[in-house]
Structure formats: C-alpha cells, structure tokens
C-alpha cells in the first residue's frame, strides 16, 4: 500500500507549533520517507492561529494535501478551524471540549505528561508518532541531535516517550495507517531559503547585505551564522537601499555579493538595481514574494511581483530573472544566478515566494561536485595595458573584461551617469548609443544560457497547464490526478523566466487545444508575459490570490470546471 499521510500541528504563536512540526518532518524524513511541510502563520509573535502541515509519502512529494490524517491541536480554536478537513484523528491538548469530532477526538493531557508546560509540543510529537507505531529510536536520535547532549535533550526525549507510550497504550489500533521507517537514505530536509543560502555559500558568495523582512530573513541569519566558518560577511544594513548599494560596492571591489528582500523591500531596492545595470556590476537579488501592495499579508504567499521585477527601474538594461520551482531547484538556480551575474555583469533576480521560502522538502543529497564557479571574463593585461584599462570597453559580445580596484595598477572606473569606455561621465550622443547597445547586446548570449521550460506529461496533450516558480509541485501532482481520470493533460513549467524562452513556450501552446496559466496572483502575469513575447493568448487563467498556496486538488478541480 502506498503511503500518503498528512499531519497538521496547530495552535497559537508561542505554543511551539513550528518546532513540533519541524521535528515531526525531520523524524519522518530520517525514517526514509519523503516529506513536504509548509507553514501558515500570522504576523504576530504570540497568540493568533498558526499551523504547520507535514505530508509524508513513500515517493516524491512537492505539494500540500488538504485531508488531514492526524491533527495535533494545541487549543480549541485549532479543532474548530481544521475539523472539517480531518479524515483521521484529532489529538487535543486539554481537558474538555464541547465541539467534539466523536470517536476521532483524542483528548490527551499533554501538559501533565510533559511535566512541564514548555514541552507539551514534544509530548504531542510522541503521541502522533505512537499512533502510527513509528520507531521511537529515530525520534530519540533526532531529538538528541536537535537539543544537544544536555538536560534539555534528555527531558525532551522523556517527554516524547511519555506521549509515545501513552498513545501506544490508549489508542492502539485506532488508526489503520501505520508508518514503518525502513530505508536509511541520506536525504536532506531543506526549506527554499536554506537551499538558496547553501547555494550561495557553495558558489562562493562572500558578501551579503540585507534588511530583515519576511520571508527572507532566514537567509540573512543563516549566512551570518556561517560567516566566520566560511569567511564571508553579512551586513545587517540600515535599510534596503543601503543593502543593495553595499552589495554593489562589494561586487565592484571583486567579491560575489547578494542581497535579499521581499517585494516591498525590493520597491526600495529598485533604484540600486538600475545602478547595477548601468555600472555593469554583478549582483544577485533574492526577491521573496508575499501578497501586496504595500504591507499586504506579510507572512503569506503570492506570485504578484513577476511583472514588477521584469520591469523594475527606469530606462533599459539587461537583467536575468530566475524563479526556483522546488527546494532543490532553489539551490541550483542560486548557483546559476551567481555565475550568470558575473559572466554577463548584470543583476540577476531570484524570484521566490513565502511558500517556497519556508516550506520543507526532502531532497536527495546535493552533489556538490556539480557546482561550477564561472567568474566570467577577467582582465589580465600587462603593465602598459593596465594604464589604458577601460572598464566599459565596447566589445562584440557587450562583455568587457573586469578588473578589480586595488588588485593591479589598472584603475577601475564606473559611473551611474552614462559613461565612456573608461568609465567617465559623458554627454556625447554617439557614445551614449554605443553604451546602451553594448549593454543590451549581452542579452543575446545570455538568452542561450537560459534552460527551456520543463514539460511534464505527454508531448502533445489537449490541455496544457502552465506555471512558474513555486507552484511546480502542486501543478505536477494535479496533472497526475487528472491523467489518472483519463484526461489528456500536460504541464509546462518555467523556472528561468528572463530572458524569455518565447519559441519553446509558443511551441507547446501551439500543440495543445487549451492552455491555462496557474498563478498565485490576481491578473495572470505570466499570461501577459506569454502574450507579449509570443503573441499567443492562453485559453484561461486559474488564479489564487488569497495569500495561500495552491493544493493539487484545488488545481485539478479548477481544471475540471474550466475544460473537461
């Protein structure tokens, strides 16, 4: 029997929902299962309603599912908010509850079993894993690794064991689906942000400046935590304007640099983006989308910034926009972003979102031997030539060899004003035209480095579902659901968005009867891009802009309504 189970841990902020959910995901991953876990939280430190969903399968998983097999509810509100989707059982922390789910409601004295209110979340973890008769040794091992060797670790293991044993004793046989960990495969459990952070370190990022903002702050924190070991610098800047400009300064001086922000922070960075454009400074900008405009829904997800990042800044200059599809992709896209930035000497935007940024996925161990570092064309002239060095020399490809200030006698000069080849500001019409053309020329070779969109399912289908970025897993599974029902459906997914692969997209749309974009926004921004770049109009738009991610079932149902 195939395994596909869904656990939800729910409660208010401050009750340990996040930690219990994370540890559950970790324990299941360690048992050889595939895990996908996402977080739903409010913009507050205490109170409110938060939940952490952990989906576990015995095959690859890249999306959430709605029916809940085990709900761990730390308060009454969690029961009433989730009970409609519970098909299994509810573990409720408390004494009495009016609003019961009948036989499926298990009232567990978590606090009493914990002996300490602080550890009720660990007890709940034990209860949930006891229900499915999981191997407790794995639970103990993960807790030991997480909490270290001291008393805290021992107490948490004790608390989990109390929950586990209570559950085995009281609820034996109450749940039909059991999990028996088997393989010891070396999978990693990563969030999108962790994958981006690891990618940046692996490809030699040496400098980051940023200003904290959901959903990207954990990238800053991770790089800061590793800065000593990896000889890199993370500056918590005074604002996003400073952050991007510090990054540009560091990159100009010769190190790989990045910044990260959300859409509203990126609004402030737009000025700096163009500075990187005209000074041809390589810079990687992570833009973690959340619902806007302005503050919007700060802790939730959206894909509302595609058209924004494509056009951000006045004037015209080349840029690349990459939107990771999965956690694993986030690592490799980041590696590619740094290489493209230096090779083509331009800003590269990694367009992610809250859903990908904070969702955990199990991925196969990353093969670091596949990481290449391509620093692009570097200047290595002789003494005489160095005195003539021109940072913005006009070349056939538009790429001028870079030199770094202070590393040789060559003077490296550049300007936010339009400039001549040497980097001095100018007013001359001819040189202005030549410099604009030189910069835009880089797009020709850059475009060749962009991977074609991914096609999943039959090459030719009646219906094509088109998505970009973090919706990959949900659309992928929706295609599986629909095909099982006999529908002729495939999927076209874009993760490298700009320069746009117009021919490849037009080709796939041309082969299907219906094509639908599936986007976490209100206006179908990819549909507009497709129309602008290919002249083709998609048949319809399946859109969601409530701040919550798509589930495969939601997409499948929308497609059925639209076309079948």
């Amino acid at each position: 029997m195939t395994i596909d189970m869904n656990f939800v841990v729910a409660g208010e902020a401050g009750q340990g929902v996040q930690l219990a959910g994370f540890l559950l995901a970790k324990v299941l991953a360690r048992g050889g299962y595939h895990v996908f876990a996402d977080q739903d939280y409010e913009s507050r430190v205490r109170g409110g309603h938060n939940f952490f969903r952990v989906r576990v399968k015995d095959s690859r998983v890249g999306a959430i599912a709605e029916p809940v097999d085990v709900l761990i509810a730390f308060n009454k509100e969690s029961v009433s908010l989730h009970k409609n989707v519970v098909t299994g059982v509810i573990i409720f922390n408390g004494k009495k509850i009016k609003d019961t789910g009948g036989d499926s409601l298990f009232i567990v004295p978590l606090e009493r079993l914990a002996g300490d209110k602080l550890m009720s979340n660990t007890v709940a973890l034990g209860v949930a894993l006891g229900l499915v008769e999981y191997d407790f040794e794995i639970v103990a091992k993960v807790l030991r690794e997480h909490f270290g060797t001291g008393d805290v670790s021992q107490n948490n293991i004790k608390a989990a064991r109390a929950g586990y044993e209570y559950s085995r004793r009281e609820y034996k046989g109450k749940i039909s689906r059991l999990l028996s960990p088997s393989s010891q495969e070396e999978r990693l459990l990563l969030t999108g942000n962790e994958a981006i952070s690891l990618g940046a370190i692996a490809v030699g990022c040496k400098f980051m400046a940023a200003y904290p903002m959901t959903p990207v702050s954990s990238i800053m924190e991770y790089l800061a935590a590793k800065s000593k070991d990896f000889d890199l610098v993370m500056v918590h800047a005074e604002d996003e304007i400073a952050a991007i400009n510090m990054g540009i300064g560091a990159a100009y001086a010769g190190v790989r640099a990045m910044t990260a922000t959300s859409g509203s922070g990126f609004c402030l960075m737009v000025e700096g983006l163009g500075l990187a454009g005209i000074t041809e400074t390589p810079l990687v900008v992570v833009e973690g989308q959340r619902p806007g405009p302005a503050v919007g829904l700060p802790t939730r997800t959206e894909q509302g910034d595609l058209q924004f990042v494509l056009h951000a800044h006045h004037g015209e200059f080349p840029r690349a926009v990459l939107a990771p599809a999965t956690v694993e992709d986030a690592f490799w896209i980041t590696v590619k972003a740094f290489n493209l930035a230096e090779k083509y000497q331009l800003p590269v935007i990694i367009l992610t979102d809250q859903h990908l940024a904070s969702s955990y996925t199990t991925v196969d161990r990353i093969d670091l031997s596949k990481v290449t570092i391509d620093r692009g064309l570097l200047f290595s002239g002789g003494e005489a030539e160095q005195l003539e060095y021109k940072r913005h020399r006009i070349t056939e490809t538009g790429i001028s060899p870079r030199a770094f200030p202070g590393q040789s006698k060559a003077l490296v000069m550049t300007d936010a004003d339009e400039h001549d080849e040497a980097g001095h500001l100018i007013e001359d019409a001819g040189m202005r035209t030549a410099q604009v053309q030189k910069r835009l020329r880089k797009l020709f070779s850059l475009k060749k480095e962009i991977d074609p969109p991914k096609l999943y399912g039959p090459k030719k289908a009646e219906t094509t579902l088109i998505g970009w970025g973090s919706t990959f897993g949900a659309i992928h599974e929706a295609v599986d659901i629909l095909r099982k029902e006999g529908a002729s459906v495939n999927m076209l997914h874009l993760n490298e968005l700009w320069p746009f692969q117009a021919e490849a997209v037009a080709d796939v749309i041309g082969r299907s009867h219906h094509s639908y974009v599936i986007e976490n926004n209100a206006t179908g921004q990819l549909a507009k891009l497709i129309r602008a770049e290919t002249g083709k109009e998609v048949s319809g738009r399946i859109l969601k802009y409530d701040g919550r991610p798509f589930s495969p079932a939601y997409i499948a149902e929308a497609v059925r309504k639209e076309c079948c």
Binding site: A237, A250, G254, V255, A257, M413, D417
Partner: protein, 282 residues
C-alpha cells in the same frame, strides 16, 4: 614617489571660482603627501557638483547615485580593506538624500573618509534650498525662507563618528591637513567643508566665510566630547575650523572575523567545508 602628475584628471566642468577647485587641490595634495598611489585609492561619489570630483582627480572611481555614495563605499571597503576609501558628497547628497546612510555609517564606524562639500545650496539643480541653508534663506523652493539647518558637526558627534572636522575650501593648506588626518584615522571620518557657490549662494560667499572662520588652536581638546558638542554650536559671527572631535573606537571592519585572514577579494572557497554543511540538514 607620488607627484601631482599622478593626480591629473579630466578638465573640471565646474563654474569658474567654484569652491570645489580648492577641495580638489586639497584632496590631491593630501593623497600625494600620504604617498597613496591612484590604484590604491577608491573614490566613491554621489550626484551633485561634488559628485563629479573623482573624475577630475585620479583613482579607482565609483560614481554612484544621488545620496548613496556611503553604502557602496562600505561594501567595497569590506570586500577589500586594503583600499583607501574616500567618499565625496555635497550637502544635499550627504545630509538630505543620504541622511540615513550617514547616521548608520557613523554609528558602525566604517573605516572610510567622507568629504562633504557644504555650500548650503543646491548647485546642480540650480539654486534650491539645502539641508544646511541658513535659517530664512530664500530660494525658488523656499520663497518664505528656509527652515533651520542641520548642524552636521553636532549630528556627527551625537551619531558616533570618530573623526569630525570642518574645513574651508578657501584655505587649501589647512584643508589638506584635515583630509590627511581623516584618511589616516582608523574609523569613520566626516569632513564638512565650507564651500562657496559662486552661482547660487550670494549670502555665504568667500568673503562672508573669511570674515567668520578661525582655526582651533593648540589649547582646544578634540577628545573632550562635551567640549566638542559645545564647539559644534558655534555658527554665525565666528565659525571654528579644524578637528572638532576625535576618538578611538574599533572599526566595523576590525571586528569582522572573516577579514582577519586578509581581504575577502583574495580568499578562496573550500568545497569540502560546504559538504559538512549539508550534513546539518540530514
């Protein structure tokens, strides 16, 4: 030997008689006397007439956006602390558009020297009020007179800058000494430079300044913060020139572990260490 020939840049496009000429001369003299070669120097500027200065001297140049010379200067200094980094701004650039960057750069004590050409008026945009225009100064954008000005010296003392000086574009010898002091100082050095604007400021002229400025003498102690704050209030009939406040405090760069092994720009990556990072996510 470094000579003036090393620092001959492009022909300046400033108005004849502009105070910027004096500042350019003083900067070049300071660089020559400190025997800094152009390739060891990074000049970062913003936008405004002052922002053009790097092109008229020589060195590595990053002419950035209006109000933004300080952040890229910081980024470059961290990437390569061996560079001598001098940022150049006007009063609008430094105290208006770039105010927040200045505040935090002072607090963090980055090891850069910041020259602010303070002519108390906007020159490039042709004569509007500036954050340092005198109270009541009438311009096209302040027909009823300007609001009270920022006091850059007092602001810098309160803000944590570790070398704070005021110079005058009409006294090149004295200004060159201040710039030398700023460059040699370890930490954030702010040099506010009184600079007549011959086109748009007909109040604060060369003669207006000359009648008022005086140099701080041997008896003045720049290490005394309350005294410096008091001195910073002096403006009007008498305007003090010189190092107004100086203190030693660890720089931002000195406190970064990664820089102890040398500049980031010359460090290599060990992939084996990254492999160990992956283990933390098992």
């Amino acid at each position: 030997m470094v000579t003036i020939a090393d620092y001959v840049g492009l022909e300046p496009a400033w108005c004849p008689g502009c105070g910027n000429f004096g500042i350019l001369k003083a900067l070049n003299r300071a660089l020559i006397e400190l025997e800094i070669e152009p390739h060891q120097l990074l000049l970062v500027s913003g936008i405004g007439q002052a922002g053009k200065l790097p092109h008229y001297s020589r060195g590595n140049i990053f002419n950035s956006l209006h109000g933004r010379p300080v952040p890229p200067a910081i980024g470059a200094k961290i990437a390569n602390p061996e560079l001598v980094v001098v940022a150049v701004s006007g009063d609008g650039d430094a105290y208006g558009e770039g105010g927040n960057h200045l505040l935090h750069a002072m607090r963090r004590n980055h090891d850069i020297t910041y020259l602010v050409h303070n002519n108390q008026v906007y020159g490039l945009t042709k004569g509007q009020t500036s954050p340092t225009s005198d109270l009541g100064f009438v311009t096209k954008t302040t027909p009823y007179g300007a609001s009270p000005p920022i006091n850059p010296i007092a602001l810098a003392i309160a803000g944590g800058a570790t070398f704070i000086a005021r110079g005058f574009a009409g006294d090149i010898d004295h200004l060159a000494e201040l710039i030398k002091g700023g460059i040699q100082h370890r930490g954030f050095a702010l040099i506010d430079i009184l600079q007549p604007c011959v086109s748009f400021n007909h109040k604060n002229t060369y003669s207006w300044y000359r009648e008022r400025v005086y140099k701080l003498g041997e008896d003045y102690d720049p290490g005394n913060q309350p005294g410096a704050l008091e001195k910073a209030q002096e403006w009007g009939d008498r305007i003090p020139l010189g190092v107004i406040y100086r203190v030693t405090r660890p720089t931002f760069e000195e406190q970064i572990p990664a820089l102890k092994k040398g500049p980031l720009v010359s460090q290599e990556l060990e992939l084996a260490k990254v492999e160990r990072l992956l283990d933390e996510f098992r």
